[in-house]
């Protein structure tokens, strides 16, 4: 129960961060990428702030603790191979992000205030994940790659 409450609070921090940063706002996200048009460089500050904070914090956590509070080990991806699957999937993700203006982490926190638009995106995204997983032969356990 403790783990669930803490997970919910951490999720709330994530959602609040996404919402105030502008990552949940497709107009702003698309403008960040529209260097040739109505460019809005704000998202550099989101990525920079998140990245530097996380890099320092991870070093502190991994340096100070041998295991997480609620688990026996840190679950870190061990796959180091850069392959066509990774790059092809990432390229597709980029195309979809460029069309819709939502990425998964930007869309979920918008579900509470974003109306039909974000519902359409998230619904289709879930169908896309199910489709890809089915095509992948149902061989992979959920979240195995993460």
């Amino acid at each position: 129960m403790q783990k669930l409450i803490v997970s919910g609070l951490i999720g709330a921090v994530f959602g609040l961060g996404i919402a105030i940063s502008g990552m949940a706002n497709p107009a702003k996200v698309l403008n960040f990428f529209d260097v040739a048009g109505s460019w809005d460089p704000s998202l550099i500050f989101v990525m920079g702030g998140a990245l530097i904070t996380t890099a320092i914090g991870y070093m502190v956590v991994f340096g100070a603790r041998r295991k997480p509070v609620f688990d026996a080990e840190f679950h870190l991806p061990i796959n180091k191979t850069v392959d066509a699957r990774l790059l092809g999937g990432s390229a597709l993700f980029g195309i979809g992000w460029g069309i819709a203006g939502f990425c998964p982490g930007g869309a979920i926190p918008a579900l509470g205030f974003g109306g039909l638009h974000v519902l359409a995106f998230v619904g289709a995204m879930v169908i896309g994940i199910v489709l890809a997983r089915t095509l992948d032969g149902l061989r992979h356990k959920p979240a195995k790659a993460f």
């Binding site: 951490i10 500050f45 702030g49 995106f121 896309g128 993460f146």
Partner: protein, 141 residues
Amino acid sequence: METEFTPWMSLAGGILIGLSAILLMMFNGRIAGMTGIVTGIIPPVSSDWAWRIAFLAGAVIGPVLFLAFGGTIPYAVPVSLPLLALGGLIVGVGVYYGAGCTSGHGVCGMARLSPRSIAATLTFMIFTGLTVYVVRHIAEI
């Protein structure tokens, strides 16, 4: 559609995103990647689905509470519903094969200097930029 340049709010939001990534690693030992967290609650669900639901519920409720206490969240969607659905479908397939998205690869993986995450992030940033250019300046949808 113009949007206002908001370096301080965006930086504050970015730091909160980073803080949540640190806390999720410290408490649950997990990468704060939305792709991985969401995939784990789509049937067949992963065995540790409960914390994922709690995290996602928090991620939805956080901004709602912020609004309820008088905060403002600028939000505009200059994209039609069919294109949102098309984009969502492509994003779903892409993040499954790419094993992550902006939060998992772009923040958590890059922070660990993971070669896969660096390659993935460079790839999707380039393709997102190209797609926006094509949509807005060539196809002019």
